[in-house]
Symmetry: C2
Subunit: 174 residues, 2 copies
């Protein structure tokens, strides 16, 4: 339309990566338990609200993830919000999966799901459905119950491949 | 398990709201065009990456949204990332829908989609499918192309019902 018209030269995967590097996201730790009673967990930046009546949550995950097979319909999970003080938990749950529940305190919540008390809040949810798309899947969960341990004044934010604190409040969404 | 075991007293919608108030999210503006050639747009905090090969994006939206009927499979949309300098655009695209494209500069991108140049980056994507769940829907889009206008050093973050800037970089995700 004018000399400044964008060329949209970035294509496909490169386009996606460039834009999402510029996009901030919240960070959670999701835990569950296998049929054999073993705790599992992983760090996720894709947990999103999907409506409040009934209360639903969505979560994107790669089918190749070691946790995927344990997240079938009916599975109970605990979704932990994180802040600057629990950055260590985000890192631990993204590192070696054999070490994720060693040297860390947790308790056993509803349906034997592991719960970390160190975080600001935990939501217990039940997998309702999952939709496989290419190599990934969208999981829908019903929110069941929650515990708020403390107010999160410093939520953890993921941006440009690193963990950040929150900055200034610029404006209320009136 | 001990005296500090959480009670998980918050239930259902209240549980969901309490936990998501404690969760940060990135903010985007999504635009498209109706069959009649009218621009539409809205502010969204649910845009999430759904894998890079092929490059896919997911977006949650209420079926009651005025934009919903225009986001059927095949529709082309532009997903704009935002920063502190484009907070005004997040607000404009969440306010009166008759005023969203008045008194603002935009150009016409691929397939007539409206594009705002003021933002850090724009991703053009095509709706692949949508899955209706209760009163909401999950939309899956194929990422097609992108333009990066400038580096976003201050992405806009939504938290506790308000817009925030980004804080300190705490750690690289090595």
């Amino acid at each position: 339309m004018n000399d400044n018209s964008p060329s949209f030269a970035l294509q496909g995967s490169e386009a996606l990566k460039t834009v999402f590097r510029n996009h901030a996201s919240g960070i959670t730790v999701v835990t569950s338990v296998t049929n054999d009673g073993e705790p599992i967990g992983f760090t996720a930046s894709s947990v999103t609200s999907l409506g409040s009546n009934p209360p639903l949550v969505s979560l994107n995950i790669a089918q190749g993830s070691s946790s995927y097979k344990h997240l079938s319909p009916g599975a109970i999970v605990a979704i932990h919000t994180l802040d600057a003080g629990t950055l260590w938990l985000a890192e631990k749950m993204a590192a070696d999966k054999e070490q994720r529940f060693t040297d860390v305190e947790f308790s056993i919540g509803p349906n034997s799901v592991p719960v970390f008390h160190q975080v600001p809040a935990v939501l217990v949810a039940k997998v309702r459905s999952r939709t496989e798309i290419e190599a990934n899947a969208m999981i829908v969960l019903d929110a069941l119950s929650a515990e708020s341990f403390r107010s999160a004044t410093e939520p953890l934010v993921y941006f440009q491949r690193g963990y950040h604190s929150l900055g200034m409040r610029l404006k209320d969404n009136s």
